[in-house]
């Protein structure tokens, strides 16, 4: 199976409570929701908990391993000239899988350019965004069919689209009840400074829109540490706009899942917007064109290495005897297969036809574009047989 169809691997709702070898002690930082420590110990939280079957625990682990492996392939493909650029999610797997798996089929996602993991949880073929990074398209896919909007590169712009879409849900009367629809808007710590993002808080609050603002605070906006964006924790921003904000350990897939599920359910039941700050770290470069050694030291990276989202989950699965070595290996093998098939399919992505430049500028066409298309074809025809291009 090339995609992560959430029915087959996602956590089932109302899963039977399972034994908890180590779910008693509370987490360290009271300001940050945590259910699984960096050491892989389950801890409790007064407001949030998850009870999952072993299948569900394993599914989350599997997701994280696969999306990391696919991401590594993306970086490799760029290095080999197969992609123009790649934006790595390394280190943010728990934030993306935890939040993505907390979504229901009817929920709509408004991503940035880094949510490859969330895309996977929506059951979408992971090759989808590669067209954008390879430069064969502008990322265009049917964002409504997939319930996953196009990647947005202009920082923060999608937060308003998400809010407007959520306002539409309310107008459609699709809030209230478990089958209500909700929206999740992803953005980064840097985006929190944009006027658009703050305006989206205003609109979401005033119209009580069913939208969850999911901010992955990966500590950097390219080279700028988060202190360049705010001098207080980002999750505190929400309160002043009139809705709840919470910080979650973004490297803890269980906590991220629990917090996101609660927020999305609140939204779908008509209780309005909320803000989640997933406290995580961008392990790699901002993109393949970036050189992080210019602005941060290896010591910092190592500290976060010790909080790796996949490591801690693996430890938990092993210690709680939810998965054995064979199964863990099989997941790595499966991830590899996904990566290799992805690589082959990316490499064989065809270039678009030149005249495609003129396609879809308008839904109803335009005299101007049509005439330019005609000139273009005439011009290119004039080179037939010549050595032009």
């Amino acid at each position: 199976m090339v995609n992560g169809d959430q029915n087959s691997t996602g956590p089932k709702k109302k899963a039977p409570a399972k034994r908890r070898k180590s779910a008693s002690t509370p987490a360290a930082d009271p300001d940050m929701v945590q259910l699984l420590t960096p050491e892989g110990r389950r801890v409790s939280h007064p407001d949030y908990d998850v009870s999952m079957t072993d299948d569900e625990y394993r599914a989350l682990y599997r997701d994280m391993v696969i999306v990391r492996r696919l991401d590594t392939e993306g970086t490799a493909l760029q290095r080999q000239g197969q992609l123009g650029i790649w934006a790595s999610l390394q280190g943010q797997e728990a934030a993306q899988i935890g939040s993505g798996r907390a979504l229901q089929q009817q929920d709509m996602v408004f991503p940035t350019y880094r949510e490859h993991g969330v895309l996977w949880t929506k059951g979408i073929d992971p090759i989808m965004p590669f067209g954008l990074f390879r430069g064969v398209d502008l990322g265009g896919w049917d964002s409504r069919a997939f319930k996953f909007q196009m990647y947005t590169i202009v920082i923060g712009a999608q937060s308003l689209h998400a809010t407007g879409y959520a306002m539409g849900i309310t107008k459609d009367g699709k809030v209230g009840g478990d089958d209500g629809e909700a929206v999740i808007a992803y953005f980064g710590d840097g985006a929190s400074s944009q006027g658009d993002v703050n305006e989206s808080f205003v609109y979401a609050s005033v119209y009580n829109a069913p939208v969850v603002f999911f901010c992955q605070n990966n500590q950097y906006a390219i080279s700028e540490p988060v202190i360049r964006q705010a001098r207080v924790p980002l999750f505190k921003r929400a309160d002043g706009f009139g809705f709840p904000g919470v910080r979650v350990d973004g490297n803890d897939v269980l906590a991220t899942y629990a917090v996101t599920k609660t927020a999305m359910d609140n939204a779908r039941h008509g209780n309005g917007p909320s803000f989640i700050e997933a406290f995580t770290y961008r392990m790699g470069a901002h993109t393949t064109t970036d050189d992080p050694t210019r602005y941060r030291d290896s010591g910092e990276v190592e500290q976060w290495q010790a909080k790796d989202p996949i490591e801690r989950m693996r430890t938990f699965l092993r210690d709680d005897e939810i998965a054995d070595a064979d199964w863990l290996e099989s997941v790595d093998a499966e991830a590899n297969d996904h990566a290799l098939s992805l690589r082959e399919r990316v490499i064989s992505m065809p270039d678009p036809q030149p005249a495609a430049i003129f396609d879809n500028v308008y839904h109803e066409g335009s005299q101007l574009v049509d005439s330019e298309r005609a000139e273009f074809s005439k011009y290119h025809a004039s080179f037939e047989g010549s050595d032009h291009r």
């Binding site: 398209d137 502008l138 990322g139 265009g140 896919w141 049917d142 964002s143 409504r144 069919a145 909007q149 196009m150 202009v154 712009a157 937060s159 308003l160 689209h161 998400a162 809010t163 407007g164 879409y165 959520a166 306002m167 539409g168 849900i169 107008k171 459609d172 006027g195 658009d196 305006e199 989206s200 205003v202 609109y203 005033v206 396609d359 879809n360 500028v361 308008y362 839904h363 109803e364 335009s366 005299q367 101007l368 574009v369």
Partner: protein, 326 residues
């Protein structure tokens, strides 16, 4: 069936018709609800169609257009009102980077039937930022369609056509003409296409192209010129992106002379585009270079100076005369 309506009222009537015809049509903006907009164009619509469909927004234009895009993705057809021309700029990013490009980026899967209504132009003695003519910014932006209305008939039909269009349309309304009355055939079966220009007064000597608020100036000029025995052909461009040049080319091939009139500054304005296109297409027909009568290349001046800033009958006639000096 014909009615006499002011331009503002005709837009309101067109909006009402669109709201009746399609439950997905929404009106949003600052003060469009209870107040009915500062020009009262949406007067009474919230009362009749409810706060769900006609709603006041927070005071944030980027938010107006940005959330309208989200609503369009959801399947609605939002009509955004920008209160005054100078206040569209905070929404510029959402308009040029998002609204204009999304259909292209989505390879045609996501149409964006969003209309952005902008009262434009000067002439009402307003303070700064209330008298701008920003058409060129939007016309230069691929992915947007841009139209400009100048009379009640067009106002009534073009707003409905803009709303029915699956492309984003920037809809310019000549604010200083809101109060002017005109006949509206509300039962017309075949309104001219949204993106078509129209010859409104045939003539032989000089072609005058204008749109929006300047149509009145163009027609008055033609009347005055006629008294001096000079026959001007007046063309209402109506659409600024795409341009409908065929009637202009046809006219200039006969007259050999063209004067283009707009309120906006001339430097890299729409008149420049028309001049370039006409010169290329009608090179051998031109008896004179295309002349432009426009606002000057300064910020819009203090109200007491706007009479001198804005193109008027005298300046148009002066340009018409100059086309005979080549």
């Amino acid at each position: 069936m014909s009615q006499t309506l002011r331009i503002g009222g005709a837009i309101g009537a067109g909006l009402r018709k669109a709201l009746e015809d399609d439950p997905k049509v929404l009106l949003m903006g600052e003060d469009v609800g209870k107040l009915g907009g500062v020009f009262r164009v949406t007067d009474g619509l919230q009362k009749d169609f409810g706060e769900d469909r006609i709603f006041d927004t927070p005071l944030a234009e980027s938010g107006i257009v940005g959330t309208a895009i989200g609503l369009a993705i959801r399947g609605y057809r939002p009509v955004c009102e920008i209160q005054f021309n100078g206040f569209v700029y905070p929404a510029f990013d959402q308009i040029v980077s998002q609204l204009a490009k999304m259909h292209y980026r989505s390879q045609g899967t996501v149409p964006l039937p969003v209309v952005v209504r902008i009262p434009c132009g000067g002439g009402i003695g307003a303070v700064e930022h209330h008298s701008e003519s920003p058409e060129a910014y939007f016309a230069h932006t691929p992915g947007l369609k841009v139209v400009s209305v100048s009379n009640s008939q067009d106002a009534y039909w073009m707003i409905q056509q803009a709303i029915a269009s699956d492309d984003p349309v920037i809809f310019f309304e000549p604010l200083r003409r809101y109060q002017e009355k005109g006949e509206v055939d509300v039962s017309m079966a075949d309104a001219p296409p949204l993106h078509s220009a129209r010859v409104e007064r045939p003539g032989d000597d000089v072609t005058v192209v204008a749109w929006g608020s300047m149509m009145k100036v163009a027609h008055d000029s033609a009347t005055a010129a006629a008294e001096d025995g000079r026959s001007l052909e007046v063309i209402n461009l109506r659409t600024l992106s795409p341009l409908d040049m065929a009637p202009v080319f046809a006219s200039v091939r006969r007259t050999g002379r063209l004067v283009v009139v707009h309120e906006a500054p001339s430097h890299v304005g729409i008149a420049a585009e028309i001049s370039a296109r006409v010169t290329q297409e009608c090179f051998y027909s031109l008896e004179s270079p295309v002349l432009r009568v426009t606002g000057y290349d300064t910020p819009y001046p203090a109200a007491r100076l706007e009479e001198d800033y804005l193109p008027d009958l005298d300046r148009v006639l002066d340009a018409v005369d100059r086309t005979f000096t080549y």
